[in-house]
Chain length 223, copies 4
Amino acid sequence: MSRRVPTIVKNAELVAQRRSEIIDVATRLFLERGFHKTSIRDIARACPFNLASLYMYVGSKEDILFLVAQQLMDEKAAAMAEVETLHEGPVEAFTAAFRAYCQIVHKFRPHIRLLYQELGALAPERRESVMSSLYTVIGVFEKIVRRGIEKRVFADVDPRLVALDALFMCHLWSMHTRALRPITTDYQAFSEMQSKILLQGILARKPATHRRSKKRKAKSPMA
Amino acid sequence: MSRRVPTIVKNAELVAQRRSEIIDVATRLFLERGFHKTSIRDIARACPFNLASLYMYVGSKEDILFLVAQQLMDEKAAAMAEVETLHEGPVEAFTAAFRAYCQIVHKFRPHIRLLYQELGALAPERRESVMSSLYTVIGVFEKIVRRGIEKRVFADVDPRLVALDALFMCHLWSMHTRALRPITTDYQAFSEMQSKILLQGILARKPATHRRSKKRKAKSPMA
Amino acid sequence: MSRRVPTIVKNAELVAQRRSEIIDVATRLFLERGFHKTSIRDIARACPFNLASLYMYVGSKEDILFLVAQQLMDEKAAAMAEVETLHEGPVEAFTAAFRAYCQIVHKFRPHIRLLYQELGALAPERRESVMSSLYTVIGVFEKIVRRGIEKRVFADVDPRLVALDALFMCHLWSMHTRALRPITTDYQAFSEMQSKILLQGILARKPATHRRSKKRKAKSPMA
Amino acid sequence: MSRRVPTIVKNAELVAQRRSEIIDVATRLFLERGFHKTSIRDIARACPFNLASLYMYVGSKEDILFLVAQQLMDEKAAAMAEVETLHEGPVEAFTAAFRAYCQIVHKFRPHIRLLYQELGALAPERRESVMSSLYTVIGVFEKIVRRGIEKRVFADVDPRLVALDALFMCHLWSMHTRALRPITTDYQAFSEMQSKILLQGILARKPATHRRSKKRKAKSPMA
DNA sequence: CATGAATGAGCATTCATTCAT
DNA sequence: GATGAATGAATGCTCATTCAT
């Protein structure tokens, strides 16, 4: 849990407990006022221990952001891991995964915004470390898509790209809330619309499909 | 150009010129170290005039961010406005617009990241003002989609949502550069892949439609 | 008028006119926000000419305060000079003078407060120069008291001290407005009360005294 | 002691000690150059701790002025409280109080000037709070006068106004030092002269006096 | 004589971090 | 292990004043 964040304190359990408190408090404050406008004093003030003690469990303000980001990502990954549905059909699996991630995004709307905004304050290495958690989510989609392609249900698309698209099209819900308001304010409706579009976009064209396919049909849609 | 940012200096031309210098310097520094880690002293140091003079052209640090954001958005909007393609077919028009915006995103990759990250530091009203420039881009896509739906080329999707998707699927190029690297490093290839997916996703399925449906018809989707 | 404040501009009339404008504006602003919280830019902004021009008629911000103080004192002195009543009796003269100065103090209540507060920002020499105008007022009282003593109407008090007391007992009206509110809010009533007290305080207790009264008693209470 | 000025530091004793240092230094500097020309850096420089530490004991520059003013007033009030003489006769009591307050004024001559000058920089509420300490002094005089009136020793004057006059006539010593120099440079002589004048001003006129009273008593008011 | 523009020096305040106990 | 106190370094911003034109 405390990956890459060294401590002076030896009692691992204590460290975990205190850090958990710090993370909770910091997450709340970061969401309220952003990372830069939250002083480390603000955080300490809301903790049951004092500023100097706080520094026994984290080495710097950046550490706290890292911890917060990690926890957020872990929570998201955990939630997504549960989904890893074993639906028979790729279409159903894809739809289910999309729906599940949309729900997660909905739940963590402000947190995702926070991550997009403040991750830049992390050292590159750590930023990467945090981002890598995304691959749990991407992986879920990627696997489904890959299976769909194998089964000829999906067209010959890049599974990784589609997985990223799926991820990102869910993130839209958290990143452009305002712009989406006139369309729908119900994340489930949003989920259905988005997954339908993306799914349609990758479905194999029946009898004969595009991509290297030999279409006898005269009029190609994209010709 | 300097909408909503008042000055003490009277010579409008000079204001424009100095502000341009400030914006350039600030953009560079913001890109390098972010808004919060760039002090107004840093900006002034990189300007051919001093700190106090800088304050003759802007009223606050936030003003500078606003100016920077505005210019970025204006440049993007201007570049996109030129595109407003008069392609006959919606498919071509959509593809062209997507390609154009991808190119813009590619050019402004770091800037877009900057906007997503730092716009939160702006007062809500100003944030909205900046964001509203996005509607120029969204509008281009929306119009094309709407036309496509009228012509029965596109399915009955929400034009606005699709426009947002198009926009956001282009932004993916700037927001997840690292994750995209294994897929492609060529923004044009990226553009083609993405537009194909999204386009496919909104094309009208002729007689019979998707999802478990058995389409016999070979008739072109655009017919 | 422009005593001790040198200029670069030669046209004396112009200097007088411009300075008058400066003084008016500055007086208003000083009264509103105090000397230190009024920037020279604030003053220039409220003048029909610009900041650099302002510096052609005064040499520094302190000069302006000096000019303002001088004008205030001059106005007060002028108003008091008119009073210089030629009343026959010292008692009547004293009462009249007191009443007159109270009226002036009432009119210039905020200005007097301003002078007491901000004169400290003046160079000692200038502060003295301004204060010396007070001697016009003091002189009026002093002369009356001196005459009264000669005429054995007033006791053998120090005329200068009494004059200062008279002055200062009037200033009470401007300096402790709040504390005086429960006593009276009418400056004329205040004037009567104060002058009666002070007058009583300096009247000769002799066999025969002032004010129509015929006292037979020779015993002086303070003898 | 530190009424209305919150701290971060918990050790109350330390707060008191440090604040005392700050107040001493600040008082000295304010007396030398005034509140506005004294920077908080100046104060910190003369303290045995640094600028940031200073801010652990006060919240703002205004706080320091408030603290300084409070201490001054407290000292004055404490000195005056001791006086609260139980003299039998009102005349003696009045004279004693006047002498005592003159002594205090003499001791705090520059400080009183400071208060008259800089209290304007305080927020109204705080200004009132400081000024209210004056009522300790005023109260002493008022009580004496009231008692004197009851005993028919003093005329039917407004006790509050007379108390204010007494206060203010003592302040004359600090506010117009220069003007008083030709009269006397001895504050005790000043005190005697002033109290004699004011006392005379409020003494009941024996048998027949003004103010509608008909007193037959011949006993000297000072007996 | 007028003025637009410029600037050096300064201001009050805050912050992340570190010790001594 | 805990904590109260301390601090160096910065930060955003303002001001009185001066010049080149």
